[in-house]
């Protein structure tokens, strides 16, 4: 097995025992990137110079006994997180040449934990998409089938993890953008509770929904990464000062005696029968581990797409007003007036999906329509959250499919925005309610595409998610397959 194929905890053990060096691991990662990224297109920018410096520093630290949780671990970063001195594009022409003057808090925390930052991964423009097709820097291809999408918007991070172009990655999730690509690429993806991880330096899409989280090769790695990412940050007033547990503590505790809710609204007509069968397999495993699976209802689930695609674009239209071509970012030449300059800059700098969402958001917030759309959606959002609060009175966790179908073909839905939006049907409610959720590989389609199961917990119970996911991961009879790439 090449070094780049290892997990975070495997690399950590080999570094600590001196079996390998951080520079060797990093070389294996860059060799792999050189070999496959021309096809996959998981990365927008590489950070070779800084990465080798960090790896050399890690080797010095290791030789002197200074070991931190991510010392010498090559991590890929979604290009939505600001990195000091390193171009941060957010997948957009608007920020094609933007070089942030500071690090996002999660970047700082990973650097302080010893991580080696490999590069910035491809994504849907401003995280608006479910397929990585809206990136200004070209689509990322699914390592399992290069004609299919990797999911989005953290598609580059998910593909990089699965194709072993990094050891672990970080993404962001506004409506499924970590979990859906994790499911489509066959990796583990965790969206933390809103407020668990700092958003400082995360380029804003929908501020009441955005969260940063890990994409990893197994559940233990998700726990290791969460130990570094989670925690209060004075620079993000929505981050929460709750204590952060050691997420590795529960990895082998099992789920005997737990109650697992199976919401009937997630097993609707239209769900792919192979996904249904794979999730049924997980339910059987969960029961064999001594947990009780119970039929429950999340009655407002069917409204989540409508609610989300009002609230997220509304927040986006406000957040993206800052891109005016004055302080940073792209600006077109010409324009006789400042107003012309704004319009020309924004029209040329944003792609079609971003403009579409700005239009939806501007419309729904405009005079005369606010009550009918934004206020109504915010009320139904409260009902969606109440569904979860009610369910978690009797359930430890909730179990659903992550996506209704396996990865679709590149180009298949790109001309029909509404069909594209409906692919997020199982992930959106989680962000609206602010609860944490994790996607775990649970099977393969007959075409050989990975399938994902989603576990959901109540606010700030990431430890329960990790405990349940680790139990399922180690007991689910699942053949370890490798992608063709």
């Amino acid at each position: 097995m090449s070094l780049n194929e290892l997990t975070v905890h495997d690399v950590h053990n080999k570094l600590v025992t001196g079996e390998v060096t951080a520079v060797e691991v990093l070389e294996a990662v860059y060799d792999r990137i050189d070999a496959v990224d021309g096809t996959i297109n998981a990365y927008i920018s590489l950070m070779k110079e800084g990465a080798y410096e960090a790896a050399e520093q890690a080797d010095r630290d290791l030789s002197e006994g200074r070991v931190k949780p991510l010392t010498g671990i090559p991590v890929a970063i979604k290009d939505i997180l600001s990195t000091e001195g390193v171009r941060t594009t957010c997948g957009s022409r608007m920020l094609e040449n933007f070089i942030p003057p500071y690090d996002a808090t999660v970047i700082r925390r990973m650097k302080e934990a010893g991580a080696v930052l490999v590069g910035k991964t491809n994504m849907d423009e401003f995280a608006m998409g479910s397929s990585n097709e809206t990136s200004y820097f070209g689509v990322t291809r699914n390592p399992w089938d290069r004609n299919r999408i990797p999911g989005g918007s953290s598609g580059g991070s998910a593909a990089a993890v699965n194709a072993n172009e990094c050891i672990a990655a970080v993404g962001s999730d506004t409506g499924g953008s970590i979990r859906q690509p994790a499911a489509h690429c066959g990796v583990v993806g965790l969206k933390p509770t809103y407020g668990r991880v700092s958003r400082y330096g995360l380029i804003a899409f929908a501020s009441s929904l955005d969260q940063v989280g890990p994409l990893t090769k197994d559940v233990e790695d998700a726990a290791v990464m969460m130990n570094v990412l989670a925690g209060h940050d004075a620079a993000d007033s929505t981050s929460v000062p709750h204590p952060v547990p050691d997420y590795r503590e529960n990895l082998s505790r099992g789920i005997e005696g737990w109650t697992v809710g199976i919401p009937r609204e997630y097993f609707i007509e239209g769900i792919d029968p192979e996904i249904k069968a794979a999730v049924d397999g997980v339910i059987a495993t969960v029961e064999s581990l001594g947990a009780e699976c119970r039929d429950i209802s999340l009655p407002h689930s069917r409204y989540c797409v409508a609610v989300y695609y009002i609230i997220a674009p509304a927040e986006a239209s406000s957040n993206l007003a800052r891109y005016d071509g004055v302080r940073y970012g792209f600006r077109t030449s010409g324009g006789d007036t400042l107003l012309d300059s704004y319009k020309m800059t924004r029209s040329a700098g944003f792609g079609a999906e971003v403009k579409r969402r700005i239009m939806i958001g501007t419309y729904s917030l405009s005079a005369g329509y606010y009550d009918a759309y934004y206020k109504k959606a915010s009320q139904v959002r409260a009902l969606i959250k109440k569904d979860f609060d009610d369910a978690f009175r009797s359930c430890d966790i909730i179990l659903t499919p992550t996506t209704p179908t396996p990865a679709f073909r590149i180009g298949e839905k790109v001309d029909d925005p509404l069909q594209m939006y409906l692919t997020d049907i199982f992930t959106l409610s989680i962000n609206l309610a602010g609860v944490p959720a994790l996607s775990l590989p649970c099977g393969y389609s007959t075409d050989g595409l990975p399938l994902g199961v989603q576990l959901i917990a109540h606010h700030f119970q990431e430890d329960k998610l990790i405990q349940a996911a680790a139990a399922v991961e180690s007991h689910l009879p699942l053949e370890k397959k490798r992608p063709g790439i």
Binding site: Y194, T238, I310, L338, M359, I360, K376, A382, L383, G434
Partner: protein, 95 residues
């Protein structure tokens, strides 16, 4: 019809976007599809439901008003498309 081409033009202006005639036609059609789908919300009874704007209850976060190091003009202007070294430069606003 939820939204007309004329309204699309108005919303584009509010959003500071220019649209070609072709884009206006596409947006008119797509926004009608999307906004039409949103009608599903009218079937939900929401009388008396407090709108939810955030996942957690938010409180004011206060801190001491103390002087800290700031970015400085040079770094703040480093990404500007146009500046004179001290200020961002834009197209003339006043005659």
């Amino acid at each position: 019809m939820k939204i007309t081409k004329k309204e699309v033009e108005y919303v584009a202006h509010l959003a500071r976007l220019d649209c070609s005639e072709e884009e206006k036609d596409i947006f008119t059609s797509q926004l009608n599809d999307i906004l039409g789908y949103m009608d599903i919300l009218n079937t939900v009874e929401t009388a008396g439901v407090e709108p939810m704007n955030h996942a957690l209850s938010l409180e004011n976060i206060l801190r001491e008003d103390e002087i800290r190091e700031s970015l400085g003009a040079e770094r703040a202007l480093a990404n500007a498309p146009d500046s004179d070294g001290e200020y961002f430069r834009v197209t003339r606003v006043i005659d």
